[in-house]
Protein backbone atom coordinates (compact mmCIF):
# COMPACT_ATOMS: atom_id res chain seq x y z
CA UNK A 1 0.00 0.00 0.00
CA UNK A 2 2.71 2.43 1.09
CA UNK A 3 4.69 1.35 -1.95
CA UNK A 4 1.86 2.42 -4.25
CA UNK A 5 1.57 5.68 -2.36
CA UNK A 6 5.26 6.31 -2.95
CA UNK A 7 4.80 5.58 -6.65
CA UNK A 8 1.88 8.00 -6.89
CA UNK A 9 3.84 10.70 -5.06
CA UNK A 10 6.75 10.21 -7.44
CA UNK A 11 4.50 10.46 -10.49
CA UNK A 12 2.82 13.61 -9.17
CA UNK A 13 6.14 15.31 -8.41
CA UNK A 14 7.62 14.33 -11.75
CA UNK A 15 4.58 15.73 -13.56
CA UNK A 16 4.71 18.93 -11.52
CA UNK A 17 8.27 19.63 -12.64
CA UNK A 18 7.27 19.40 -16.30
CA UNK A 19 4.07 21.38 -15.93
CA UNK A 20 5.21 24.14 -13.59
CA UNK A 21 8.98 24.00 -13.48
CA UNK A 22 11.40 26.21 -15.38
CA UNK A 23 14.43 25.05 -17.37
CA UNK A 24 16.56 25.05 -14.26
CA UNK A 25 14.16 22.71 -12.48
CA UNK A 26 14.05 20.44 -15.51
CA UNK A 27 17.84 20.23 -15.78
CA UNK A 28 18.24 19.70 -12.05
CA UNK A 29 15.68 16.90 -12.12
CA UNK A 30 17.14 15.23 -15.21
CA UNK A 31 20.52 15.07 -13.54
CA UNK A 32 18.95 13.87 -10.32
CA UNK A 33 17.18 11.09 -12.24
CA UNK A 34 20.48 10.05 -13.78
CA UNK A 35 21.87 9.62 -10.29
CA UNK A 36 18.78 7.80 -9.07
CA UNK A 37 19.16 5.27 -11.88
CA UNK A 38 22.89 4.87 -11.23
CA UNK A 39 22.30 4.47 -7.50
CA UNK A 40 19.62 1.80 -8.03
CA UNK A 41 21.84 0.02 -10.53
CA UNK A 42 24.82 -0.02 -8.18
CA UNK A 43 22.63 -1.14 -5.27
CA UNK A 44 21.82 -4.42 -7.03
CA UNK A 45 25.40 -5.63 -7.17
CA UNK A 46 26.97 -3.55 -4.38
CA UNK A 47 24.06 -3.56 -1.95
CA UNK A 48 22.10 -6.76 -2.42
CA UNK A 49 24.88 -9.03 -3.66
CA UNK A 50 27.62 -7.52 -1.50
CA UNK A 51 30.02 -6.98 -4.40
CA UNK A 52 30.79 -3.29 -3.94
CA UNK A 53 32.90 -1.85 -6.71
CA UNK A 54 34.16 1.38 -8.21
CA UNK A 55 33.65 0.51 -11.86
CA UNK A 56 30.07 1.34 -12.70
CA UNK A 57 31.20 4.32 -14.77
CA UNK A 58 32.71 1.83 -17.23
CA UNK A 59 29.19 0.94 -18.27
CA UNK A 60 27.93 4.50 -18.06
CA UNK A 61 30.80 5.75 -20.20
CA UNK A 62 30.62 3.01 -22.80
CA UNK A 63 26.87 3.45 -22.98
CA UNK A 64 27.42 7.17 -23.49
CA UNK A 65 29.86 6.63 -26.36
CA UNK A 66 27.75 3.94 -28.02
CA UNK A 67 24.73 6.22 -27.78
CA UNK A 68 26.51 9.31 -29.09
CA UNK A 69 28.10 7.45 -31.99
CA UNK A 70 24.74 6.06 -33.04
CA UNK A 71 23.07 9.46 -32.77
CA UNK A 72 25.92 11.22 -34.53
CA UNK A 73 26.77 8.91 -37.42
CA UNK A 74 23.60 6.90 -37.94
CA UNK A 75 21.26 9.70 -36.89
CA UNK A 76 19.47 7.43 -34.42
CA UNK A 77 16.88 8.86 -32.10
CA UNK A 78 18.18 9.15 -28.54
CA UNK A 79 15.69 6.54 -27.35
CA UNK A 80 16.92 3.89 -29.75
CA UNK A 81 20.49 4.89 -29.00
CA UNK A 82 19.86 4.44 -25.27
CA UNK A 83 18.37 0.98 -25.84
CA UNK A 84 21.37 0.00 -27.95
CA UNK A 85 23.65 1.36 -25.23
CA UNK A 86 21.85 -0.89 -22.74
CA UNK A 87 22.53 -3.81 -25.08
CA UNK A 88 26.19 -2.85 -25.23
CA UNK A 89 26.23 -2.77 -21.42
CA UNK A 90 24.87 -6.30 -21.34
CA UNK A 91 27.34 -7.54 -23.94
CA UNK A 92 30.17 -6.14 -21.84
CA UNK A 93 28.83 -7.13 -18.42
CA UNK A 94 28.36 -10.85 -19.05
CA UNK A 95 31.95 -11.74 -20.01
CA UNK A 96 33.41 -9.11 -17.69
CA UNK A 97 31.34 -10.35 -14.75
CA UNK A 98 32.25 -13.93 -15.55
CA UNK A 99 35.93 -13.10 -15.25
CA UNK A 100 36.00 -10.39 -12.58
CA UNK A 101 33.44 -11.77 -10.12
CA UNK A 102 35.93 -14.44 -9.12
CA UNK A 103 37.67 -11.65 -7.24
CA UNK A 104 36.39 -10.70 -3.83
CA UNK A 105 36.22 -7.65 -1.61
CA UNK A 106 38.73 -4.88 -2.27
CA UNK A 107 40.31 -6.79 -5.17
CA UNK A 108 37.04 -6.76 -7.08
CA UNK A 109 36.28 -3.17 -6.10
CA UNK A 110 39.62 -1.73 -7.15
CA UNK A 111 40.22 -3.79 -10.26
CA UNK A 112 36.96 -2.49 -11.71
CA UNK A 113 38.10 1.03 -10.94
CA UNK A 114 41.30 0.25 -12.83
CA UNK A 115 39.28 -1.06 -15.73
CA UNK A 116 37.33 2.19 -15.91
CA UNK A 117 40.62 4.08 -16.13
CA UNK A 118 41.62 1.80 -19.00
CA UNK A 119 38.41 2.60 -20.87
CA UNK A 120 38.99 6.29 -20.21
CA UNK A 121 42.54 6.10 -21.55
CA UNK A 122 41.38 4.22 -24.65
CA UNK A 123 38.69 6.80 -25.36
CA UNK A 124 41.29 9.55 -25.00
CA UNK A 125 43.64 7.85 -27.42
CA UNK A 126 41.19 6.53 -30.00
CA UNK A 127 40.76 9.95 -31.66
CA UNK A 128 39.25 8.69 -34.86
CA UNK A 129 36.29 7.16 -33.07
CA UNK A 130 35.84 9.27 -29.95
CA UNK A 131 37.30 12.62 -30.88
CA UNK A 132 39.81 12.10 -28.08
CA UNK A 133 40.06 14.86 -25.48
CA UNK A 134 37.99 17.24 -27.65
CA UNK A 135 35.00 15.00 -27.31
CA UNK A 136 32.00 14.59 -29.58
CA UNK A 137 29.21 17.12 -30.03
CA UNK A 138 25.60 16.42 -30.92
CA UNK A 139 22.95 18.83 -32.13
CA UNK A 140 21.31 19.84 -28.83
CA UNK A 141 17.81 18.67 -27.96
CA UNK A 142 15.83 21.84 -27.42
CA UNK A 143 12.78 20.41 -25.75
CA UNK A 144 14.06 17.96 -23.17
CA UNK A 145 10.69 16.97 -21.75
CA UNK A 146 10.61 13.61 -23.52
CA UNK A 147 14.12 12.87 -22.32
CA UNK A 148 12.95 13.78 -18.86
CA UNK A 149 10.00 11.43 -19.19
CA UNK A 150 12.22 8.57 -20.37
CA UNK A 151 14.49 9.04 -17.37
CA UNK A 152 11.53 9.23 -15.01
CA UNK A 153 10.26 5.92 -16.40
CA UNK A 154 13.72 4.41 -16.06
CA UNK A 155 13.79 5.50 -12.40
CA UNK A 156 10.39 3.94 -11.91
CA UNK A 157 11.56 0.75 -13.60
CA UNK A 158 14.58 0.56 -11.31
CA UNK A 159 12.39 1.09 -8.26
CA UNK A 160 10.09 -1.72 -9.37
CA UNK A 161 12.98 -4.02 -10.24
CA UNK A 162 14.44 -3.42 -6.80
CA UNK A 163 11.08 -4.02 -5.15
CA UNK A 164 10.85 -7.32 -6.98
CA UNK A 165 14.41 -8.31 -6.03
CA UNK A 166 13.74 -7.46 -2.41
CA UNK A 167 10.67 -9.67 -2.33
CA UNK A 168 11.82 -12.60 -4.40
CA UNK A 169 13.89 -15.70 -3.80
CA UNK A 170 16.27 -14.40 -6.44
CA UNK A 171 16.92 -11.47 -4.11
CA UNK A 172 17.25 -13.73 -1.07
CA UNK A 173 19.84 -15.75 -2.93
CA UNK A 174 21.78 -12.62 -3.82
CA UNK A 175 21.75 -11.70 -0.15
CA UNK A 176 22.82 -15.23 0.74
CA UNK A 177 25.87 -14.63 -1.45
CA UNK A 178 26.46 -11.36 0.38
CA UNK A 179 26.21 -13.00 3.81
CA UNK A 180 28.18 -16.19 3.13
CA UNK A 181 29.01 -17.13 -0.44
CA UNK A 182 30.59 -20.46 0.51
CA UNK A 183 27.57 -21.58 2.47
CA UNK A 184 25.26 -20.47 -0.33
CA UNK A 185 27.25 -22.49 -2.84
CA UNK A 186 27.24 -25.54 -0.53
CA UNK A 187 23.46 -25.31 -0.28
CA UNK A 188 23.01 -25.50 -4.02
CA UNK A 189 22.76 -21.81 -4.86
CA UNK A 190 24.36 -21.20 -8.25
CA UNK A 191 26.47 -18.33 -7.09
CA UNK A 192 28.38 -17.61 -10.29
CA UNK A 193 25.29 -17.45 -12.44
CA UNK A 194 23.49 -15.24 -9.92
CA UNK A 195 26.41 -12.88 -9.52
CA UNK A 196 26.75 -12.42 -13.28
CA UNK A 197 22.99 -11.83 -13.53
CA UNK A 198 23.08 -9.21 -10.76
CA UNK A 199 26.10 -7.57 -12.36
CA UNK A 200 24.32 -7.43 -15.72
CA UNK A 201 21.14 -6.07 -14.16
CA UNK A 202 23.19 -3.22 -12.80
CA UNK A 203 25.22 -2.66 -15.99
CA UNK A 204 22.35 -2.37 -18.47
CA UNK A 205 20.55 0.60 -16.88
CA UNK A 206 23.88 2.31 -16.16
CA UNK A 207 24.82 2.07 -19.84
CA UNK A 208 21.41 3.23 -21.06
CA UNK A 209 21.61 6.08 -18.60
CA UNK A 210 25.00 7.08 -19.99
CA UNK A 211 23.48 7.48 -23.47
CA UNK A 212 20.59 9.54 -22.10
CA UNK A 213 22.97 11.75 -20.14
CA UNK A 214 25.09 12.36 -23.23
CA UNK A 215 21.93 13.21 -25.19
CA UNK A 216 20.97 15.63 -22.44
CA UNK A 217 24.39 17.35 -22.57
CA UNK A 218 24.63 17.00 -26.37
CA UNK A 219 28.26 16.24 -25.71
CA UNK A 220 30.62 13.57 -24.46
CA UNK A 221 34.31 13.44 -23.65
CA UNK A 222 36.37 10.92 -21.65
CA UNK A 223 36.34 12.75 -18.28
CA UNK A 224 32.57 13.17 -18.50
CA UNK A 225 31.89 9.61 -19.61
CA UNK A 226 34.05 7.89 -17.00
CA UNK A 227 33.92 10.54 -14.26
CA UNK A 228 35.29 9.24 -10.95
CA UNK A 229 33.30 11.93 -9.13
CA UNK A 230 30.06 10.45 -10.43
CA UNK A 231 31.21 7.00 -9.38
CA UNK A 232 31.90 8.09 -5.83
CA UNK A 233 28.77 10.24 -5.65
CA UNK A 234 26.61 7.31 -6.72
CA UNK A 235 28.06 5.07 -4.03
CA UNK A 236 27.77 7.80 -1.40
CA UNK A 237 24.09 8.18 -2.30
CA UNK A 238 23.42 4.48 -1.82
CA UNK A 239 25.27 4.42 1.51
CA UNK A 240 23.44 7.54 2.64
CA UNK A 241 20.00 6.22 1.71
CA UNK A 242 20.49 2.61 2.73
CA UNK A 243 22.53 -0.16 1.18
CA UNK A 244 20.49 -3.10 -0.04
CA UNK A 245 17.11 -1.46 0.53
CA UNK A 246 14.22 -0.65 -1.81
CA UNK A 247 13.96 3.07 -1.15
CA UNK A 248 17.55 3.74 -0.08
CA UNK A 249 18.99 4.72 -3.48
CA UNK A 250 16.15 7.16 -4.23
CA UNK A 251 16.18 8.70 -0.77
CA UNK A 252 19.96 8.91 -0.82
CA UNK A 253 20.09 10.49 -4.25
CA UNK A 254 17.45 13.10 -3.46
CA UNK A 255 18.97 13.96 -0.07
CA UNK A 256 22.41 14.21 -1.57
CA UNK A 257 21.29 16.34 -4.51
CA UNK A 258 19.35 18.76 -2.32
CA UNK A 259 22.23 18.99 0.15
CA UNK A 260 24.57 19.60 -2.73
CA UNK A 261 22.46 22.44 -4.11
CA UNK A 262 22.11 24.10 -0.71
CA UNK A 263 25.75 23.86 0.22
CA UNK A 264 27.05 24.67 -3.22
CA UNK A 265 25.34 28.07 -3.40
CA UNK A 266 26.26 29.03 0.17
CA UNK A 267 29.76 27.63 0.56
CA UNK A 268 31.16 27.36 -2.96
CA UNK A 269 34.67 26.63 -1.70
CA UNK A 270 33.82 24.16 1.01
CA UNK A 271 30.88 22.29 -0.36
CA UNK A 272 32.61 19.11 -1.46
CA UNK A 273 34.18 18.77 1.96
CA UNK A 274 30.90 19.46 3.72
CA UNK A 275 29.03 16.93 1.60
CA UNK A 276 31.74 14.42 2.42
CA UNK A 277 31.39 15.07 6.14
CA UNK A 278 27.63 14.60 6.02
CA UNK A 279 28.05 11.30 4.17
CA UNK A 280 30.67 10.05 6.63
CA UNK A 281 28.50 10.99 9.60
CA UNK A 282 25.51 9.19 8.10
CA UNK A 283 27.43 6.03 7.34
CA UNK A 284 29.02 5.97 10.78
CA UNK A 285 25.82 6.50 12.70
CA UNK A 286 23.34 4.77 10.41
CA UNK A 287 24.83 1.60 8.90
CA UNK A 288 21.70 1.02 6.86
CA UNK A 289 21.35 4.68 6.01
CA UNK A 290 18.36 6.96 6.23
CA UNK A 291 16.04 4.06 5.48
CA UNK A 292 16.97 2.34 8.75
CA UNK A 293 15.98 5.53 10.57
CA UNK A 294 12.63 5.61 8.80
CA UNK A 295 12.04 1.92 9.52
CA UNK A 296 12.85 2.39 13.19
CA UNK A 297 10.43 5.26 13.48
CA UNK A 298 7.86 3.11 11.65
CA UNK A 299 7.46 5.50 8.75
CA UNK A 300 8.19 2.76 6.26
CA UNK A 301 7.96 -1.02 6.53
CA UNK A 302 11.13 -3.09 6.80
CA UNK A 303 12.10 -4.76 3.54
CA UNK A 304 11.51 -8.33 2.36
CA UNK A 305 7.87 -8.36 3.34
CA UNK A 306 6.75 -10.96 0.84
CA UNK A 307 7.77 -14.07 2.75
CA UNK A 308 6.52 -12.66 6.05
CA UNK A 309 3.16 -12.04 4.41
CA UNK A 310 3.00 -15.52 2.91
CA UNK A 311 3.86 -16.99 6.32
CA UNK A 312 1.16 -14.91 7.99
CA UNK A 313 -1.38 -16.06 5.42
CA UNK A 314 -0.47 -19.70 5.91
CA UNK A 315 -2.09 -19.35 9.32
CA UNK A 316 0.60 -21.24 11.14
CA UNK A 317 2.88 -18.34 11.89
CA UNK A 318 3.20 -17.38 15.55
Amino acid sequence: MKFRLALAAFAALAAAVVLFGNDYALTFTIQLFVFVVLAYAWNIIGGYTGYSHFGQMSFFGIGAYVGVLLMLHLKWHWLGAALAAGGAGLALAVPLGWIMLRLKGPFFAISLFGLTRVFEAVSFEWDALTGGGTGLYLPPINDQRMLYLALALLCLGMLMLTYWIDNSRFGLQLQAIRDDEGAAEALGIRTTRLKVTAFSLSAVPAAACGALFAAHLAFIDPPTAFAPVMEVTTIAMVLLGGLGTILGPAIGAVTFAVLNELLWSRFPDLYYGLVGLVVIACVLFMPRGIVSLLVRSRLIAPGRGAFRRIAARSGRAP
Binding site: A184, R304, R308
Partner: protein
Protein backbone atom coordinates in the same frame (compact mmCIF):
# COMPACT_ATOMS: atom_id res chain seq x y z
CA UNK B 1 27.07 -56.38 -1.27
CA UNK B 2 25.04 -53.57 -2.81
CA UNK B 3 26.68 -50.38 -3.94
CA UNK B 4 27.09 -47.84 -1.13
CA UNK B 5 25.46 -44.44 -1.54
CA UNK B 6 28.71 -42.68 -0.71
CA UNK B 7 32.18 -44.04 -1.01
CA UNK B 8 35.46 -42.25 -0.28
CA UNK B 9 38.73 -43.77 -1.41
CA UNK B 10 42.28 -42.91 -0.28
CA UNK B 11 41.44 -39.32 0.52
CA UNK B 12 44.50 -37.17 1.01
CA UNK B 13 44.29 -33.52 1.91
CA UNK B 14 47.16 -31.31 3.03
CA UNK B 15 47.10 -27.76 4.30
CA UNK B 16 50.58 -26.46 3.80
CA UNK B 17 52.74 -28.89 5.73
CA UNK B 18 49.83 -30.26 7.76
CA UNK B 19 48.25 -33.49 6.53
CA UNK B 20 44.59 -33.38 7.52
CA UNK B 21 43.57 -36.51 5.61
CA UNK B 22 46.12 -39.19 5.10
CA UNK B 23 44.47 -41.82 2.91
CA UNK B 24 41.12 -41.92 4.66
CA UNK B 25 38.36 -44.06 3.24
CA UNK B 26 34.77 -44.72 4.22
CA UNK B 27 31.44 -45.71 2.80
CA UNK B 28 27.88 -44.98 3.70
CA UNK B 29 25.19 -47.52 2.92
CA UNK B 30 21.97 -46.32 1.33
CA UNK B 31 19.31 -45.77 3.97
CA UNK B 32 21.72 -45.98 6.89
CA UNK B 33 22.61 -43.67 9.70
CA UNK B 34 26.37 -43.72 9.67
CA UNK B 35 28.52 -42.08 12.29
CA UNK B 36 32.02 -40.72 12.33
CA UNK B 37 33.97 -40.10 15.49
CA UNK B 38 37.54 -39.18 16.21
CA UNK B 39 39.61 -36.88 18.37
CA UNK B 40 39.76 -33.15 17.77
CA UNK B 41 41.76 -32.32 14.68
CA UNK B 42 41.61 -35.84 13.30
CA UNK B 43 40.19 -34.59 9.99
CA UNK B 44 36.46 -35.24 10.29
CA UNK B 45 35.31 -31.83 9.12
CA UNK B 46 37.94 -31.82 6.41
CA UNK B 47 36.53 -35.08 5.11
CA UNK B 48 33.04 -33.57 4.98
CA UNK B 49 34.41 -30.50 3.22
CA UNK B 50 36.01 -32.72 0.60
CA UNK B 51 32.83 -34.76 0.10
CA UNK B 52 30.74 -31.59 -0.29
CA UNK B 53 33.24 -30.02 -2.67
CA UNK B 54 34.19 -27.09 -0.45
CA UNK B 55 37.77 -28.36 -0.44
CA UNK B 56 39.51 -30.19 -3.29
CA UNK B 57 41.24 -33.47 -2.48
CA UNK B 58 44.96 -33.67 -3.17
CA UNK B 59 44.41 -37.27 -4.21
CA UNK B 60 41.77 -39.93 -3.81
CA UNK B 61 38.18 -40.03 -4.98
CA UNK B 62 34.61 -39.56 -3.81
CA UNK B 63 31.81 -41.57 -5.37
CA UNK B 64 28.10 -40.96 -5.04
CA UNK B 65 26.16 -44.03 -6.21
CA UNK B 66 29.27 -45.10 -8.07
CA UNK B 67 29.77 -41.82 -9.93
CA UNK B 68 32.70 -39.61 -9.11
CA UNK B 69 31.76 -36.29 -7.55
CA UNK B 70 35.08 -34.87 -6.42
CA UNK B 71 35.99 -32.06 -8.86
CA UNK B 72 32.33 -31.01 -9.08
CA UNK B 73 31.37 -27.56 -7.81
CA UNK B 74 29.67 -27.58 -4.39
CA UNK B 75 26.32 -26.52 -5.84
CA UNK B 76 26.50 -29.37 -8.34
CA UNK B 77 27.15 -31.87 -5.55
CA UNK B 78 24.24 -30.37 -3.64
CA UNK B 79 22.03 -30.76 -6.71
CA UNK B 80 22.91 -34.44 -6.76
CA UNK B 81 21.28 -34.77 -3.35
CA UNK B 82 24.01 -34.08 -0.81
CA UNK B 83 23.22 -31.38 1.77
CA UNK B 84 25.36 -30.40 4.70
CA UNK B 85 25.56 -28.44 7.91
CA UNK B 86 28.65 -26.67 9.17
CA UNK B 87 30.36 -27.32 12.47
CA UNK B 88 30.77 -23.60 12.99
CA UNK B 89 27.39 -22.48 11.76
CA UNK B 90 27.29 -20.43 8.61
CA UNK B 91 23.83 -18.92 8.47
CA UNK B 92 22.93 -15.93 6.32
CA UNK B 93 23.14 -13.59 9.28
CA UNK B 94 21.33 -10.55 7.92
CA UNK B 95 18.29 -12.65 7.09
CA UNK B 96 15.58 -13.99 9.33
CA UNK B 97 15.35 -17.68 10.09
CA UNK B 98 12.44 -18.02 7.67
CA UNK B 99 14.43 -16.31 4.91
CA UNK B 100 17.45 -18.52 5.59
CA UNK B 101 15.31 -21.55 4.87
CA UNK B 102 13.38 -20.11 1.94
CA UNK B 103 16.56 -18.83 0.23
CA UNK B 104 17.91 -22.31 -0.40
CA UNK B 105 14.67 -23.89 -1.64
CA UNK B 106 14.87 -23.83 -5.41
CA UNK B 107 12.30 -26.21 -6.65
CA UNK B 108 9.10 -25.00 -5.05
CA UNK B 109 6.82 -22.02 -5.49
CA UNK B 110 7.25 -19.27 -2.91
CA UNK B 111 4.18 -20.44 -1.02
CA UNK B 112 5.32 -24.06 -0.97
CA UNK B 113 8.78 -22.98 0.15
CA UNK B 114 7.36 -20.97 3.02
CA UNK B 115 5.09 -23.82 4.08
CA UNK B 116 7.94 -26.23 3.96
CA UNK B 117 10.07 -23.86 6.01
CA UNK B 118 7.35 -23.50 8.64
CA UNK B 119 7.01 -27.27 8.75
CA UNK B 120 10.75 -27.67 9.30
CA UNK B 121 10.75 -25.01 12.01
CA UNK B 122 7.87 -26.76 13.78
CA UNK B 123 9.73 -30.07 13.73
CA UNK B 124 12.78 -28.41 15.19
CA UNK B 125 10.61 -26.58 17.75
CA UNK B 126 11.71 -23.15 16.62
CA UNK B 127 8.64 -21.59 14.94
CA UNK B 128 8.86 -18.65 17.35
CA UNK B 129 12.27 -17.81 15.86
CA UNK B 130 10.79 -17.45 12.38
CA UNK B 131 11.24 -13.70 12.05
CA UNK B 132 14.35 -13.31 14.15
CA UNK B 133 17.55 -12.31 12.34
CA UNK B 134 19.87 -15.31 12.22
CA UNK B 135 22.70 -13.17 13.53
CA UNK B 136 20.88 -12.78 16.87
CA UNK B 137 20.47 -16.49 17.63
CA UNK B 138 22.25 -18.55 20.26
CA UNK B 139 24.70 -21.25 19.21
CA UNK B 140 22.20 -24.06 19.76
CA UNK B 141 19.49 -22.23 17.87
CA UNK B 142 21.82 -21.65 14.95
CA UNK B 143 22.61 -25.38 14.87
CA UNK B 144 18.91 -26.11 14.58
CA UNK B 145 18.43 -23.60 11.78
CA UNK B 146 21.31 -25.24 9.90
CA UNK B 147 19.53 -28.58 10.11
CA UNK B 148 16.33 -26.90 8.96
CA UNK B 149 18.13 -25.39 6.00
CA UNK B 150 19.33 -28.80 4.79
CA UNK B 151 15.82 -30.19 5.21
CA UNK B 152 14.59 -27.63 2.68
CA UNK B 153 16.70 -29.36 0.04
CA UNK B 154 15.09 -32.79 0.51
CA UNK B 155 18.53 -34.37 0.20
CA UNK B 156 19.26 -38.04 -0.32
CA UNK B 157 22.31 -37.75 1.89
CA UNK B 158 22.62 -35.39 4.83
CA UNK B 159 26.08 -34.59 6.16
CA UNK B 160 25.71 -33.32 9.72
CA UNK B 161 28.84 -31.91 11.33
CA UNK B 162 28.33 -32.01 15.11
CA UNK B 163 24.60 -31.30 14.98
CA UNK B 164 24.09 -31.99 18.68
CA UNK B 165 26.72 -29.68 20.10
CA UNK B 166 25.13 -27.01 22.28
CA UNK B 167 21.61 -28.45 22.12
CA UNK B 168 19.86 -29.55 25.31
CA UNK B 169 19.44 -33.32 25.83
CA UNK B 170 15.66 -33.26 25.57
CA UNK B 171 15.83 -31.61 22.15
CA UNK B 172 18.74 -33.86 21.18
CA UNK B 173 16.48 -36.84 21.77
CA UNK B 174 13.71 -35.30 19.76
CA UNK B 175 16.04 -34.60 16.88
CA UNK B 176 17.34 -38.15 17.03
CA UNK B 177 13.77 -39.40 16.81
CA UNK B 178 13.19 -37.13 13.89
CA UNK B 179 16.37 -38.19 12.07
CA UNK B 180 15.31 -41.80 12.51
CA UNK B 181 11.97 -40.94 10.98
CA UNK B 182 13.73 -39.32 8.02
CA UNK B 183 15.79 -42.43 7.60
CA UNK B 184 12.59 -44.43 7.63
CA UNK B 185 11.45 -42.28 4.71
CA UNK B 186 14.55 -43.21 2.74
CA UNK B 187 17.06 -40.52 3.65
CA UNK B 188 20.66 -41.44 4.43
CA UNK B 189 22.51 -39.67 7.22
CA UNK B 190 26.19 -39.29 7.87
CA UNK B 191 26.84 -37.71 11.26
CA UNK B 192 29.98 -36.42 12.94
CA UNK B 193 29.58 -35.93 16.66
CA UNK B 194 31.39 -36.14 19.93
CA UNK B 195 28.14 -37.08 21.67
CA UNK B 196 29.02 -40.80 22.00
CA UNK B 197 25.73 -41.62 23.67
CA UNK B 198 23.86 -40.58 20.53
CA UNK B 199 26.32 -41.89 17.96
CA UNK B 200 26.44 -45.32 19.54
CA UNK B 201 22.66 -45.38 20.02
CA UNK B 202 21.45 -44.39 16.59
CA UNK B 203 24.11 -45.37 14.09
CA UNK B 204 24.13 -48.59 12.10
CA UNK B 205 27.81 -48.25 11.44
CA UNK B 206 30.54 -46.06 12.88
CA UNK B 207 33.86 -44.95 11.39
CA UNK B 208 36.67 -43.95 13.69
CA UNK B 209 39.14 -41.43 12.33
CA UNK B 210 42.49 -40.61 13.88
CA UNK B 211 45.18 -38.43 12.36
CA UNK B 212 43.56 -38.49 8.95
CA UNK B 213 43.15 -42.26 8.71
CA UNK B 214 40.36 -44.67 9.50
CA UNK B 215 41.48 -46.78 12.43
CA UNK B 216 38.35 -48.84 12.75
CA UNK B 217 34.86 -49.33 11.40
CA UNK B 218 31.98 -51.45 12.56
CA UNK B 219 28.62 -51.54 14.29
CA UNK B 220 28.34 -49.51 17.51
CA UNK B 221 28.82 -52.51 19.82
CA UNK B 222 32.14 -53.32 18.20
CA UNK B 223 33.29 -49.71 18.32
CA UNK B 224 32.24 -49.39 21.95
CA UNK B 225 34.40 -52.31 23.01
CA UNK B 226 37.41 -51.49 20.85
CA UNK B 227 40.40 -50.69 23.06
CA UNK B 228 41.61 -47.85 20.84
CA UNK B 229 38.25 -46.12 21.06
CA UNK B 230 37.95 -46.76 24.76
CA UNK B 231 41.33 -45.19 25.24
CA UNK B 232 40.39 -42.13 23.27
CA UNK B 233 36.90 -41.57 24.63
CA UNK B 234 36.15 -43.21 27.97
Amino acid sequence: MTQPLLHVEDAVKRFGGRTALDGAHCSVATGSITGMIGPNGSGKSTLFNCIAGAEALDSGAVYLRGARIDRLAPHAICERGVARTFQLTRLFRDMTVLENLVAVAHTFSDRQAVERAIHAMELLEIPELMHRPAGDLSYGQRKLVEIGRTLMLEPKLMLLDEPFAGINPRLQNRIVGYLQKLRGEGMTLFIIDHEMRIILDVCDSVWVLAEGRIVMNGPPQAVRSDPRVIEAYF
